[in-house]
């Protein structure tokens, strides 16, 4: 009987993560935020209870990091229009009031914590910059809508 090598185990963990956890998260932006939240602020290591129980904790961490990086690059390559759509999906799936999330995201820019480690600085800057623009676009749309319904 052959023992599966590390790459095969990592691939299995990655697919398990996509199937069980990430498929339930709506949109790539929400997935990036979710994956960043599995990373320890102090050590930078990723942790997922269920994935670590099915695979080893180091394998789970590597699968989480790979998924984070891949989805981040995918969303950073989106056009501004697509990113506005992604942000709308995220806001609609959030339990908090849309205006509150928009306000807090513009003030605190929490999405900066969603950047994977050692990502290219120009790509990171483009992602942050496009999110700022997407937030401003949605804020403006909300204002226009409020103006129309108030009139």
């Amino acid at each position: 009987m052959s023992v599966p090598n590390n790459a095969v185990i990592l691939q299995a963990a990655y697919e398990d993560l996509l199937r069980r956890s990430l498929s339930k998260v709506p949109g790539d932006l929400a997935r990036v935020i979710y994956l960043a939240s599995t990373r320890d602020y102090n050590t930078g290591t990723y942790h997922h209870e269920g994935l670590a129980a099915r695979f080893r904790s180091e394998v789970a961490a590597k699968a989480l990091e790979a998924a984070h990086r891949e989805i981040f690059y995918r969303i950073a390559a989106c056009s501004l229009e697509e990113l506005v759509h992604e942000l709308e999906i995220y806001l609609n799936s959030s339990r908090q009031a849309r205006e509150d999330v928009l306000h807090i995201w513009q003030k605190l820019e929490p999405y900066r914590l969603a950047l994977p480690m050692d990502v290219n600085v120009a790509v990171a800057r483009l992602f942050v910059s496009n999110l700022r623009l997407a937030l401003a676009i949605l804020q403006r749309q909300a204002r226009l809508q409020a103006g129309r319904s108030g009139a």
Partner: protein, 180 residues
């Protein structure tokens, strides 16, 4: 008379370029997230992002909204991203130059025409980066997309040539060692 007017035009252009360069360096200083970023050990910028940074598509989308505020924000944001990319590219070129100089110092079979060609490529790249920086400040990043793609291709060519040079130097040294 002609010579004097050419001289005046030359001096004015030089002063303009100097002003743009000073403005650029001040803009980077005002943005700590850019000035303080450590670029060692990070991934290279994928080519598709270079086209994206300098593309007109997002600008057309923003213009369609007919909001001066959004247009202003877009220009400011994209300009700062483009300047980060130019800075990253020039520091990448300087790193390749340093590595090449170190490899050339150890090489015993330097070919002057090849070295001259490499030097000219480095000089062209650094001048392109300078022109892009000035272009981004004066006209905005959307107008220097062609230069950015040219620089990106040339950087890749120079990096590949540098890797080939290092390999050849190492092989030559191994041959020399084994023949002793």
């Amino acid at each position: 008379m002609m010579a004097l007017s050419s001289l005046i035009v030359g001096v004015v252009l030089l002063l303009l370029l100097l002003a743009v360069a000073v403005k650029g360096s001040l803009a980077l200083r005002e943005t700590p997230e850019l000035a303080g970023s450590d670029e060692s050990g990070q991934e290279a910028c994928p080519p598709e992002f270079v086209s994206k940074i300098f593309s007109h598509d997002d600008w057309s989308y923003v213009r369609g909204m007919k909001s001066t505020g959004l247009e202003k924000l877009f220009r400011k944001e994209r300009k700062s991203v483009a300047l980060v990319w130019v800075r990253q590219t020039s520091s990448g070129i300087r790193r390749i130059m340093r590595e090449h100089a170190a490899a050339a110092r150890q090489s015993s079979n330097l070919e002057p025409p090849t070295e001259l060609k490499i030097f000219l490529q480095f000089a062209a790249l650094l001048m392109t980066c300078g022109a892009m920086r000035a272009g981004i400040h004066v006209a905005g990043p959307l107008w220097v997309g062609g230069l950015a793609r040219f620089a990106q291709n040339l950087v890749q060519q120079v990096a590949e040539a540098e890797r080939a040079f290092e390999l050849a130097t190492r092989e030559h040294e191994m041959d020399a060692m084994s023949s002793l």
